[in-house]
């Protein structure tokens, strides 16, 4: 079992409030990503779950037990850190053994020299050796067991750190940006490995990241946190396609979503950049924001489609996609449009007609609330 629920967590450092009345229910066996920009309190939240940091108020409940006053080591959670935090003076094998020894050995058995003579230790040592071996096989680090962390590459250290977390078979894994120290190619590779690991272990994963790509690719559900508040908790596709507020829409998705000011007439029809949306909204505000993702804007030559004109100012060619940064002619706002390389490159300075895909336009209040 590995259900974790947080109830009204508050945390402040001095006068800065880091977490504000945050509640979150994490289901058994899910891969939950806490995602948000730097400084949004996601790492602090993870530390509160781990017991490394104490909340000012609120409850942490693991498997229906309130663990507010339980020490970190007794919560049966394992954590993987950004810097791996392997013991630098111990071999990988010893690193993996440490949490098991601390959990299974009695005080006397842990003593150097004397411990060797306690008869019960032999049996425990055997089971520890087996567990370490099993884990190292799963992570394919068996041949690295006798090396020290300093002799390993970034990816190998990452695996060793995962191994140290796995050997204890904890109720949940807590991961604090574990991939951000790796180079780009390895990071993408480890993403799929972590997902596979989650599928085979079926343990709860709580994964903190500022990289929305990691959140979108790996998680069963993602929790978007900004400024110490939980803004949306849903599956990655829901969060991406149906954000609850403009802040979520702007944070999730790369490149960033485009926003336009829009007028709403009394019958509920929405008009922006001279284009009328087909859908009508039931609202009585007059001014709002329309947000459209770059892939839902199209560069068109068809003069029948409703469109607005803009000038290309910068071009990002990613191979499979090209993103055009364009300057909208009637205003000073810059937006980003996705184009396909098949359609041919458009050079900087050219004027293009841009047409939005109506179904995908989202409407927000100027304060950022979603209008549905």
């Amino acid at each position: 079992m590995g259900t974790i629920s947080l109830k009204n967590i508050n945390k402040s450092f001095g006068s800065t409030e880091v977490l504000k009345q945050l509640s979150l229910d994490i289901q058994d066996g899910e891969f939950l990503t806490l995602v948000g920009p730097s400084g949004c309190g996601k790492s602090t939240l993870l530390k509160i779950i781990a017991g490394l940091e104490q909340q000012n108020s609120g409850d942490v409940i693991i498997d229906d037990k309130n663990v507010n006053s339980t020490r970190a080591s007794k919560r049966d959670l394992a954590m993987v850190f950004q810097s791996y935090a392997l013991y630098p003076h111990l071999t990988v094998r010893k690193n993996l053994e440490t949490p098991l020894k601390l959990r299974d050995y009695s005080f006397v058995e842990r003593l150097p020299l004397i411990g060797n003579f306690v008869p019960s230790r032999k049996e425990k040592k055997k089971s520890i050796d087996d567990l370490v071996f099993k884990t190292s096989e799963t992570l394919k680090i068996t041949e690295l067991l006798d090396r020290k962390p300093g002799q390993l590459s970034g990816g190998q250290r990452q695996r060793a750190a995962l191994g140290r977390a796995m050997v204890r078979e904890p109720v949940a894994f807590l991961m604090d940006e574990p991939l951000s120290n790796l180079d780009a190619a390895l990071r993408v590779h480890m993403r799929s490995e972590l997902s596979e690991l989650h599928n085979s272990l079926k343990t709860t994963f709580i994964y903190v990241t500022h990289d929305q790509a990691e959140a979108l690719t790996m998680s069963t559900r993602m929790a978007v946190m900004i400024d110490g508040e939980l803004l949306q908790l849903d599956t990655p596709s829901e969060v991406y396609n149906n954000p609850s507020s403009l802040r979520v829409a702007e944070f999730v998705g790369s490149p960033k979503i485009n926003t336009f000011t829009a007028q709403i007439s009394s019958d509920g029809s929405v008009e922006f950049m001279g284009i009328k949306l087909e859908r009508k909204f039931n609202t009585n505000i007059q001014k709002a924001l329309v947000a459209v993702r770059p892939e839902h804007l199209e560069i068109t030559k068809d003069s029948n489609k409703p469109a607005f004109e803009a000038t290309v100012s910068y071009r990002e060619n990613l191979g499979s996609d090209i993103f055009y940064h364009v300057q909208v002619d009637q205003s000073d706002s810059k937006i980003i449009v996705r184009g396909s390389p098949q359609a041919g490159l458009i050079s900087n300075g050219e004027t293009v007609r841009i047409s939005p895909s109506h179904a995908e336009a989202m409407l927000f209040e100027t304060s950022g609330e979603r209008i549905r």
Partner: protein
Amino acid sequence: MLARHYIGESWKHGLLIIGALIVLIPFYMMVSMSLKSQQEIQSISGGLVGAQEIQTFPVCTKHGYTEEVCTMRPYKYNFWFAFKKAPIPRYLMNGLIVTVSIFLIQVLIALPCSYALAKLRFKGREFVFSMVLFCLLIPVHAIALPLYVMLAKAGLVDTYAALIIPWTISVFGIFLMRQFFMTVPDELIDAARMDGMGEYSIVWKVMLPVAIPALLAFAIFSVVAHWNDYFWPRIVITGNRDLFTPPLGIREFRGGIDSDEFGPMMASIVTVTIPLIVAFIVAQKRFVEGITMTGMK
């Protein structure tokens, strides 16, 4: 252009060479005098090792040894007579006992202190740390008298305890290790806590092994300071020769009837200096690492 560059560099080297000579010449004199005979020392002749002629030494016969025993080469005589005149092995042993005990107790106290000051959050931490810095400013000589009075009242004068106790809390050690622990990532400590270690286990099983280079640097400072210390042993060891540390032992060679015999005196000094030099050579690489690492250069 190139020639001017070399001229510009050479005066720096010249200056450094002069500096090196100023440091090295006393050592040269010490080694040379410990090998030569009294006449050669006084007439400043014989180069580094002297002629090494077999001769009979008058101071030796004055001490009641037969002429046969007192006839040998100067280098041999100097060292032989130094060991005859004073129990040098005993002094070296005392030096070892005192410096090692001081260092071990200092580490025992400084590590938990500096860990707490660097990594634990508690009320008054900054105040305690500023007190540590303040204590760094107190010269030993200023508090020597009250310390002596305390030890005397406790009946500890003329014991090993008097040599060791005043030095067991090293604020310099606490400061040095605290600065080093500040550079240890918090994540390592958090990881240890997640693994189930208590705070003392973290100090001894995680921080201590990580801090070995810094500890070695501190060891050199501590051991050199207390091995060479003359002031404090001179105060608390009033009469018992069995407790003399090496610097007190060397003092035996001055004064008295043969006070002007430099050979054996220098031989004893060489004997006392050698352990430190050997230790330095062995730990040299680590030592330089430690000093550059702690920013103490």
